[in-house]
Every structure is written in C-alpha cells, then in structure tokens.
C-alpha cells in the first residue's frame, strides 16, 4: 500500500516509531520493526540513543540493520557486551532502561500482549515462539512502545494468552502486580498511534496517519475503539526520514 505521496503504511509506522525516541535514551530493542525504528532514530535526531539487545550488546552502533538479535555487527560495534544473565539482572530488572520496544501477535485494549499461542494452550491452533525477553521488558522498562500492524485479527477483544502485561485489567493493576515501569505509553501502528487514557488506561486513538479515517481505524480493531476527541493527524514522513529509512532497509 503506497500513498499518493509515495510512502508506504509500514514506512509511516517506522518513521512514527523512530520519532518517539529521544536522544540519549537507553532503548531495549527487539528484532524486526522495533530494531528498524531504533536504528532509524539513531541516524536522524537521536545519534546518542543507546541500543541494548537482549543477546548482550550495550550501546550497539550497527552500520547496517542487524538480521538477528545476536548479529555479530551488534557485538563488534557495542560499547560493551555482557552475558545474558547480566543484561536481564543488572540492566533491565532494576529499571535502568528508558524504553522497551516490543511487537505483538495479539494485543488487547489495555496493551497486554500475546506472543505464545492462538487457541488453547494445551492444544493450540497456532503455536507462536513464546515469551523471550518480553514479559520482563514490559514490566521493567521505564516506558514501553509497541509497534504492530493494526487489524481486527491482532487487536482483539480478549487475548488467548497473556504473555506480557500492559495495564492488566485497567487502572491500578500495574501497581498491584508490582510492575515498576509505566507500561505501554504508545502503540504505533500502520494506521496511527494509540495512547492509554489517563484515567482508565484503555488504549485510545490519539493520532491518525495521513489518509486514514477514524472509521478505518475502528474497522481494524476488534474492540469498540475510542478515538480521542483531540485526535491529530500524524505529520507525513519528511524526504530526509524516507531517504535514511530506505538506505537502511535496502
């Protein structure tokens, strides 16, 4: 899907995700869309973004997109490489990491994520890869961004399995569970951006990408989606953003 202005919905999503990262932050990066967005941000407005990968590299500065979570380019360009127990225990768990960047196979209105099974756990319709680092990233990073394509198959009324917790069943649940980070403050999709309601924590559409109607967003969501009364239009990708992104992904 390409817009009349020559960019795709995926490019809009990646650029929007990159814009959400600030220079100097430490960012725990998953492979795929999150890694593309974080590496794009580092080449644009956030040259001092600290990229942390769960395989152990801290401060990775890859000159191309890593193809796996433990790509050699991450180790050879990092400030330091630590063991896997250390990355989780010393760096993630105490809340040293500003932003955790996650994907999702299923997402619900409170930003809880399923990456484990579709269907029943004991007799799954589809067995997905599972948790990886996500449950503790979702719990312990100061804030979490989720990057995922929006469809009623992914944005569901009820998850088949809770792999990683967003806001649980609503306001106050993170505190009750002892989760110390602030949770999923942004969900960035190919249609726009959702943010938690300040009172109920329900994900609400606060930004729509150019050309996306509120009706289209509602149709791509499996729960009755709320559109913020002050919803804005996402600024289009600039020529510079597109040029650098395409350089990175070519």
């Amino acid at each position: 899907m390409t817009s009349p202005d020559g960019w795709t919905a995926d490019e809009m999503m990646t650029v929007t995700a990159a814009r959400a990262l600030h220079d100097g932050q430490a960012c725990f990066v998953g492979i795929g869309l999150p890694s593309t967005a974080a590496n794009l941000a580092r080449r644009l407005h956030a040259p001092s973004l600290v990229l942390i990968y769960e395989s152990g590299p801290i401060g990775a500065k890859p000159d191309r997109l890593p193809l796996s979570i433990g790509d050699g380019i991450l180790a050879t360009t990092a400030d330091t490489v630590v063991s896997v127990p250390e990355i989780f225990n010393y760096w993630l768990q105490p809340g040293r990491v500003d932003v955790g960047f996650l994907g999702a196979a299923q997402l619900d209105r409170f930003g809880n994520i399923n990456t484990t099974v579709i269907g029943d756990y004991a007799h799954p319709k589809v067995r997905l890869p599972g948790a990886g680092g996500a449950p503790e990233i979702a719990a312990s990073c100061r804030e979490v961004f989720i990057v995922v394509r929006q469809s009623s198959r992914t944005f569901v009324e009820k998850l088949d399995f809770v792999t990683s917790v967003g806001y649980g069943s609503g306001e106050g649940d993170r505190e009750r569970l002892g989760l110390r980070g602030r949770g999923p403050l942004r969900v960035i999709t190919d249609l726009g951006v959702l943010q938690p309601d300040t009172e109920t924590c329900e994900l609400t559409m606060t930004s729509l990408h150019p050309g996306v109607t509120p009706e289209a967003a509602v149709a791509a969501t499996g729960w009755p989606l709320r559109i913020s009364p002050s919803v804005v239009k996402t600024p289009e990708p600039t020529d510079e953003e597109l040029r650098v992104l395409r350089e990175l992904t070519s």
Binding site: I31, G32, E54, S55, G56, P57, L67, S68, I69, G70, D71, G72, L74, A75, T76, T80, V81, S83, V84, P85, F88, N89, L92, Q93, T116, Y121, H123, P124, K125, V126, R127, P129, G130, A131, G132, G133, A134, P135, E136, A139, S140, F161, V162, T163, S164, V165, G168, D173, L177, G178, L179, R180
Partner: protein, 271 residues
C-alpha cells in the same frame, strides 16, 4: 581435566538416552555439528533445554530425539516459525513433546542458580502473565527482609551441557568471545560438559572480554571447524542467513524434512 576427543566419541561417551541436555549459544556459537552427531547416534527420550531452540532443536525434535523441551523463545530468528517444533506441539509428530515454558530472564536465572549451587533463583518476573498457570516451575517467594513477594524459579542442572567456542589449547582450556550468552552458566550448572571448538591452538593468548572455561570443568573437547554453522563464530565466519531462510521451506513438511536429515545428517559423506 578435559580430554581431547573426536566429536563422535565425545557424544558416545557423554550424551545418553533420557538425559537432560542443554545446548546453548545465543544466535552466536550454536553447537550445530554436535546436534547432528546426536541425531546420527540415535539418542532418544532427551529433555532438551535451551533459551532459544532455534533450528538446532527443530532438527533434534523432528528427528525424534526429544520427549521434552524447556525453553523461552522457539522461533527461527528473523524468519518465522520452527515448523518441526510446531508440528510436535500441535500434532504430536513424530512424538508428543512435553513443554516447560519460561521467559528469557527466568531461564537465565535458572542457569545462574544451577551454576551457583543454589536450589532456586529469585527475580522480578512473570507477574500478571499466564505463564505461571501453565508452568509449575514458576512460583513465588517472600523476601525475609522486606516481605516483598518475588518470583522463584528452580535451578537448572543439566545432565550434560554442550557448547561451541572459538578455540581451546591442548590441555582443554576453552576460550570464547563476542556474544557469550549464557554458556558459562550452562557449563558450570551441568554434571558433564562437552565443548566443540573451531581450532585447537598451542597458546590461548589473552583477548579483551573473552570468557575462559578451565579444562577442569570440562569433560571433553572436540575440534570441529565450522561446528556452529549456520550460526556464526566471531572472527571465523559469518552467520549463514540464507540457510535460516531455506530452513523455513525444508522444515515445513515432514517429507522434505526427513529427506533433508537423510541427505545432510545421516549419510556418511555429509559428516
């Protein structure tokens, strides 16, 4: 003290049917050649332990070596599903596969407890997820100092751990560098240890950031050049990303997988 042996002898001596077997390596230094030797020797009923099962365990599961998998992320990194793993879980082919599922943080801490001689590890993890309801080895523990309720996971102490490293000396001291994952912990947690290496050298000169595993915590060292292929060995060869891509279609159906194992693992010329 480690004994220098052939890979076939090391597997024959140290990996037995019904063992709990850990093969670690986080994307880097995955002991793939050792996995193939286990398939060739027809080990059965293994409880396989690994944070990221990857294609090495997809092959062992599809070849019928496993009864159980203890893991935290079972995918083909950067590609998609592990089809043999999925077929075993979804359709019990070639045999039912019991699973014990954790998060990375939980698995890493289980190895740390095993290496430390402790019965369990404490972490902040799993709270609010559905994992604890499915995995009996996730429980809570109350801090005796603060009263805080935390997560407890039991130590992992594999019967045997196998890793791949860059090099060893003739005395069997092993040196590895780059992304070192959880291998030191997996080795120190195990009752028996087999290490394959890219090369045996006269002197292990010091390298910044390298992990050294002394000969006296290892049973067998086997020289197996390219023993981590299609994963990579930093400063020796790069990851074979095309192989990972190709695995998706090879492993998608039972027949093409079986043919692949016959041709690439079981046939003597493939060794």
């Amino acid at each position: 003290m480690a004994e220098l042996m052939t890979l076939a002898d090391a597997i024959a001596d140290y990996v037995h049917d019904d063992d709990t077997l850990a093969m670690e390596g986080f994307t880097h230094l995955i002991p793939v050649a050792a996995g193939h030797e286990i398939i060739r020797q027809g080990r059965r009923n293994l409880a396989l332990v690994r944070m990221t099962p990857d294609i090495i365990y997809d092959q062992l599961i599809g070849a019928g070596c496993a009864r159980k998998l203890v893991f935290s992320w079972g995918g083909n990194p950067g590609v998609g599903s592990l089809h043999r793993f999925r077929d075993a879980v979804e359709s019990a082919w070639p045999a039912p596969l019991e699973i014990e599922e954790h998060s990375h943080a939980g698995m890493a801490n289980r190895y740390v407890a095993g290496a430390s001689g402790l019965p369990f590890a404490v972490l902040r993890g799993y709270m609010g997820t559905d994992l604890a309801a499915q995995t009996p080895s996730i429980k809570t523990v109350t801090c005796p100092f603060t009263g805080e309720v935390l997560t407890a996971v039991p130590a992992l102490n594999p019967d045997v751990t196998i890793i791949h490293a860059q090099r060893a000396d003739h005395a069997g001291n092993v040196q590895m560098w780059g992304i070192v994952g959880v291998q030191k912990e997996a080795v120190l947690a195990a009752r028996r240890v087999v290490v394959t290496v890219e090369e045996i050298v006269d002197v292990l000169d010091a390298r910044p950031g390298a992990v050294l595993l002394p000969s006296w915590v290892i049973n067998a060292v086997a020289e197996v050049p390219r023993g981590a292929h299609p994963s990579y060995a930093q400063d020796y060869y790069d990851r074979d990303n095309e192989y990972y891509q190709a695995w998706d279609s090879i492993s998608r159906d039972r027949e093409s997988f079986t043919r692949w194992v016959d041709e690439h693992v079981l046939t003597p010329s493939s060794r």
